[in-house]
Amino acid sequence: MEQLRTIGRELAMGSQGGWGQSKEFLDLVKSIGEARSKAEEDRIIARELEHLKRRLADPDVPRRKMKELLLRLVYAEMLGHDASFGHIHAVKMTHDESLPLKRTGYLAVALFIDERHDLVILVVNTIQKDLRSDNYLVVCAALTAACRLIGEEAMPAVLPQVVELLAHPKEAVRKKAVMALHRFYQRSPSSVSHLVSNFRKRLCDNDPGVMGATLCPLYDLILEDPSSYKDLVVSFVNILKQVAERRLPTSYDYHQMPAPFIQIKLLKILAVLGSGDKQASGHMYTVLGDIFRKGDTTSNIGNAILYECICCISSIFPNPKMLEAAAETTSKFLKSDSHNLKYMGIDALGRLIKINPDIAEEHQLAVIDCLEDPDDTLKRKTFELLYKMTKSTNVEVIVDRMIEYMINITDHHYKTEIASRCVELAEQFAPSNQWFIQTMNKVFEHAGDLVNIKVAHNLMRLIAEGFGEDDEGADSQLRSSAVDSYLRIVGEPKLPSSFLQIICWVLGEYGTADGRYSASYIIGKLCDVAEAHLTDDTVKVCSHILAPISFVTYFGLFLSCVLYTEAYAISAILKIIAFEIARGRKIDMLPECQTLVDELSASHSTDLQQRAYELQALLGLDKHAVESVMPSDASCEDIEVDRNLSFLNGFVQQALESGASPYIPESERSGVISVGSYRSQEQHETSAHALRFEAYELPKASLPVATAQASMSMPTTDLVPVSEPGYYKEDHQTSRSQPSGDSLSGEFGVKLRLDGVQKKWGRPTYSSSTPSSSTSSQQATNGGSHSDGGGSTSSHTRESSYGSKRQQGTEVSAEKQKLAASLFGSSAAKADRKAQASRKTAKESPLSEKATVTNATPPPIKEQLTPAAPPPDLLDLGEPVSSSAPSADPFSQLEGLLGPASATPVVSETPATVSSQTPDLMSIFSDDVQTGPSSGSTEPTLGDSSLKNSQKGATAVASKKGPSLQDALQKDATARQVGVTPTGNNPNLFKDLLG
């Protein structure tokens, strides 16, 4: 049937000449369609191109025929063949008088060349002329071409006409003029900035199409500078309202939605304008609510609008009602069967959790499903979401998952991204240094060459400096575990070179430190690394030699990167030998080590040669000499670099006295003009005789002048003042090139400043996470015992602490971090079991904590823990507790709360005796007058029993989790048995991920 139709069409076209195409073209297309191989297709096209070349050059070809030839040329280029010989003909055709030919010309030119092509100059004149044409179709064609072909240089030539066209009687022309102006703005904002007000005017255009088009440039402008467009908020809201109320002509309807594309654009604009602006956001709530109400979740376009609404709501000043609607829609997306909607839902969720992290917990299942989905795109999006919601409590699970995923992808771009995300999360949230090192090892092993080299430096530093505490034992333990892991890994083939460098360095520094491995063993390993790496890369170099392009350069590049790992290896060997000698042990030179040294001392690289010779020289030294040359464990000592080379001053002085001429820095020498040194050049204008191209600038502070003058009068110090300004100059004017002499110091200046990351590891509080969770969970207990109020109060504090957590990257006290982390933990658990078990779950963490942490550190005072303005009841409860029971056991505090009469029997709980204690509880209920607090305190026992059950059930469920329906049903059944709501049928996983 299909075939029949095809044949019919072909026949029809053949007879009509297929919209004016000739038989030749039809044959060409047909033969290409029938080509059985790429080579055959290439042959056909090559023949066609030959033919076209001949015909196009032929002056006798009629113009209408030319048009067709040009289209065939476009076709050939579309299939990936070079047809540059015909570009000039396309340009010629734009000059043609008749519109059809002109249009074809413009079309071909716009497809063939872009604004940076040389031929554009020839087209600009035509465009200029056509913009003045009386025929609006000609103008349209010219404007379309202008969008593509007019670059920054040609812009002034057409700009005035385009602006004139903004008032053209035909709406099609106005619209295109707006878009062209927008394009010009994108290309070069400065040359169009004075015309920006035109966009505002066009917003009031009678034609909805023009108005819709104007929204594009306005969106860009508003993104740039929202504050100067705040006055338009009301107009935008009005337009949106009118559109949503179907005031536009029905021709703008799309699938029964009123002008959806305009709505989406408006929503985007409102999102920018309302962000962080309460007043502006206030105008928007009504119309957003309307759109939500009218939202159509059955059609794709309806969902597109709803999604844009969610984006808008998550960006503007939050409004609880709106957020609720957005969350509802998001959950609809997530529950949908369509992958597209799930994808949008995950994205929307990522936006909403920025405002209210609780929303995520409701959708744990959906998120986990998406993470395990076979669809790669969806998976990536979910990882993005996880990345956004990572906290110190769930970082291990998330990063492990990410790495697992990272190993299996081949896409370079995405691998780099996910590797850097892993590193970022690990650096930010790592629960322990041990874990950090292991994680880093994995990242380096699988994506070593893709991560920033700074990460490697940080890792080495961490190993060298340890926790930053005075605990040497832990540090050395860390190091030896690192050494262990590296010795395990080092034999594996194809390790990335940056990882090998870390391994070499660590082995060299600490390989023999704890005495478990002999020096010769480690040296042997290092020799293997050096050898393997050398041969490995030599092979690579050879293969690249076959690639003929600028081989010499590449060879140099390869050499430098190959040898670098070697340098690490040999330095490491050097260090080990030095340590051994310093300890007074005799060192035997292994044969492979000897060969390596011999090989390297004949190396092409002077660097390697020097290292090899140094090693040989070191072997001949005695113990004391070695100790002073290479002090043991000196890696953490700072190196002082005398940038001013002041130790040379005496020498310089001497030389000057004996008649040498003083040094003049390169930048001050006459005739030398470099952009980077124009500042100092200004001070020596008389000596610089060359032309200056830049405008005069404001006079600089007089200090540099003074120093410069000083340098003239006191030649001994001339090195000092000149190198200093150069060094700072680099900081402020990094874009400028600079005299080569300063480049090194400048670069170090920049590099050194990047070390901020390290600080995290210096903080002593980081490693001890267990006491923190016990203290704050204790707070959660208090909240829980305070009956119903607890739920809302804790969510309140959670919100405020969440805000603080966002900036945690920079400087937030560790106290707050802890609070945030542990509060999230309890809240996530709460969401799992919903309303019935909110207090129960609050108990979960104290119980489990209690098992492990018997004597925690005294809890910090509550005012510190709860920032901003926490609800008073929490405070009232908290303060007396912490003062009366400084022993910090959460349950002894509860005892205090219960009062002397009933305290002791209840709270001395072991999970096993729960059932036997139930009567006791009842007695408390009946006897005690203080029902409020006591009911809170009884909960732990009750909660404990059901909690145990639920956990048991949960693990059973988790192990059974499978794709089939039967499994799912079974799962649900078990879940119900143990009293867990079916939504949480994989609680263990969620606890890790979301808790």
């Binding site: 139709r5 519109l99 795109t377 590449y554």
Partner: protein, 233 residues
């Protein structure tokens, strides 16, 4: 913003390409492919070489133990060179409209292999490619990372609906033989990477106006040729 539009058949044949942003990878591809690019590589190499020569002796040996950040001269990584090589090679095989053939090949490999039920979005080199399949044709649009994918999906459909209305139940052959018409229609819908007209009626009216001009020209031409033919009889 839409960076480019691409129509490919299920066999990976290109049916239409339109490139809107000249400042994406094309820039880099071109630069390294030209003489200039080669010069860049030389310069890069020189700088690296100088660095290794100057810094290592001074810095590496001052503190024996510790590799300070100073001491780590950033090496050229192999991947970097491989990439450069790849770019230089691919620069020679520039495709239509400046889109390297590689891009099209890569994308078609990515999209054509996707299963039917998966989502219509692919993340690619920091962009997102939204595609939709109609019979044997895939319509792809490459957009920025922050664009609304569902909207783009509907823009594609909008385009297809207009094509459908114009050709009368459009099929792949229409687009093969009349690709220039498809280009004209696309130009009326998208301009400079943005949707310029969301009313089907307006687009249809404009296209019709242009076509009537063509028809007029054709008639004129044929009448002239008739006259000539009669005159020469």
């Amino acid at each position: 913003m839409i960076n480019f539009v691409l129509l490919i058949s299920r066999q990976g044949k290109v049916r239409l390409t339109k490139w809107y942003s000249p400042y994406t990878q094309k820039e880099r591809t071109k630069r390294l492919g030209t003489k200039e690019g080669e010069k860049d590589i030389y310069r890069m190499a020189r700088i690296r070489e100088r660095k290794t020569r100057d810094i290592n002796p001074n810095q590496m040996y001052q503190g024996w133990g510790r590799p300070t950040p100073d001491a780590f001269v950033r090496r050229i990584q192999e991947t970097e060179i491989e990439e450069a090589l790849k770019r230089m090679k691919s620069g020679k095989a520039m495709g239509p409209d400046g889109i390297p053939i590689e891009v099209i090949r890569e994308l078609s490999g990515l999209i054509l292999t996707r299963g039917p039920k998966l989502c219509n979005f692919v993340e690619w080199r920091g962009y997102k490619v939204v595609y939709r399949r109609y019979a044997s044709l895939y319509f792809c649009m490459c957009v920025d990372a922050d664009d609304n994918e569902l909207e783009i999906l509907e823009i594609i459909h909008h385009f297809v609906e207009i094509l459908d209305r114009y050709f009368g139940s459009v099929c792949e052959l229409d687009l093969i033989f009349n690709f220039h018409k498809a280009y004209y229609i696309l130009d009326e819908i998208l301009i400079a990477g943005e949707l310029q007209e969301s009313s089907k009626k307006n687009v249809a009216r404009l296209i019709a106006a242009q076509d009537s001009l063509v028809e007029a020209a054709k008639e004129e031409a044929s009448s002239i040729s008739n006259i000539i033919a009669q005159a020469t009889k």
